[in-house]
Symmetry: C2
Subunit: 210 residues, 2 copies
């Protein structure tokens, strides 16, 4: 920041805010001036919540989800099925899958997907630790729940090859028509896959029973 | 926030970030997860800079610009012309005017413009304190440097009426064609005003000497 706002304190806060992704120096200045206009408690609460979060949140040793202890509440929950592991890209996706209430097993957070363009190789991800879990923890099923993108598919396939020799069932999220969308708006690839992978109508009855 | 991210610390930080203007809960979560991925120092620096800024920045008793002491560096600068006061809407506009290097006087920050729609009345602004400064501080000229909007013009006129009976010259920023813009793209109102307020060509020579 070359600009000076007559106050080194403001300069510093603006520079720090501008380091956040998607926040430029103009937005950062707007946010800082907003905080100056608010009650003092608003800025202190914000600052302290960021510090406390960063100082105290760890990652679960088992599934690499965020946690306030060595083992996250999901991995520590004996009512969940620890033999079924849902593999997701990041912490946000754990929240997304949890919000469906459909998965009663546990998770494994990769920390990204394989993406040579972004310089993310398998070694940067928690793939080895997944293989170890499958080898040592009596895992019966691994559900691959990555995004249906090229990177997600590449990662799915990489993990599949790593696990194929182990006695574990490997499944992935179903792909097909989005519920509630008109057929004419479905993209060709999704539609042709949906035809190829068509399901027995009677099987849809089981959905309800689950 | 109803959503729970398995960590009260994360929930709290996301809720605090989402209170910032223009930042929704999804962006707030993205920012929080970003801070968790970064070095610890990034989050601590951000949090501390916000807290320090809010705890230590005050407003100048004279011009109401932000300041780290009772009198801001501009009001405390004896080399500036304290008889010429530039009236601006907010702290940001002080920075904008300063960046031109054209104003060697001091400032008066109103803290907004009159806007009945947004519930901002003259009493919410630093207008009385401006009148007092003009009465007591030997002010020779007040430069109205508000935005050329309806609210800005309303505020200009309100201040003008408040100061008209005092022995002070009241000026405002020139309005006309933006420099570098093609004539055909100038809006009608600006163009007709520019014709009405046309200036002597020989006067433009003074610009350089200033």
């Amino acid at each position: 920041m070359d600009q000076s706002f007559n106050s080194r304190l403001l300069d510093t806060a603006v520079a720090e805010l501008a380091k956040l992704p998607g926040i430029g120096s103009k937005t950062a200045l707007r946010l800082a001036l907003h905080l100056l206009r608010q009650d003092k408690s608003a800025a202190l609460d914000l600052g302290n919540s960021i510090i406390k979060m960063r100082e105290n949140i760890k990652y679960c040793h088992k599934c690499h989800n965020i946690s306030e202890s060595d083992i996250c509440p999901i991995c520590g929950d004996s009512r969940r099925n620890h033999a079924v592991v849902c593999v997701v890209e990041n912490v946000k996706d754990v929240i997304t899958v949890e919000s469906t209430g459909e998965h009663r097993g546990v998770y494994h957070v990769l920390g990204g997907v394989i993406s040579p363009l972004d310089g993310v190789s398998p070694a940067d991800l928690e793939i080895e630790s997944l293989v170890e879990r499958v080898q040592n923890d009596n895992i019966e099923e691994v559900i691959l729940a990555l995004s249906p993108t090229m990177e997600g598919d590449t990662t799915n396939f990489y993990i599949y090859r790593k696990l194929a020799h182990l006695p574990v069932k490997i499944t992935m999220l179903a792909r097909g028509l989005s519920i509630g969308n008109e057929l004419e708006y479905a993209d060709e690839l999704t539609l042709s896959r949906s035809i190829r992978n068509r399901m027995l109508f009677s099987d849809t009855f089981h959905d309800k029973k689950h």
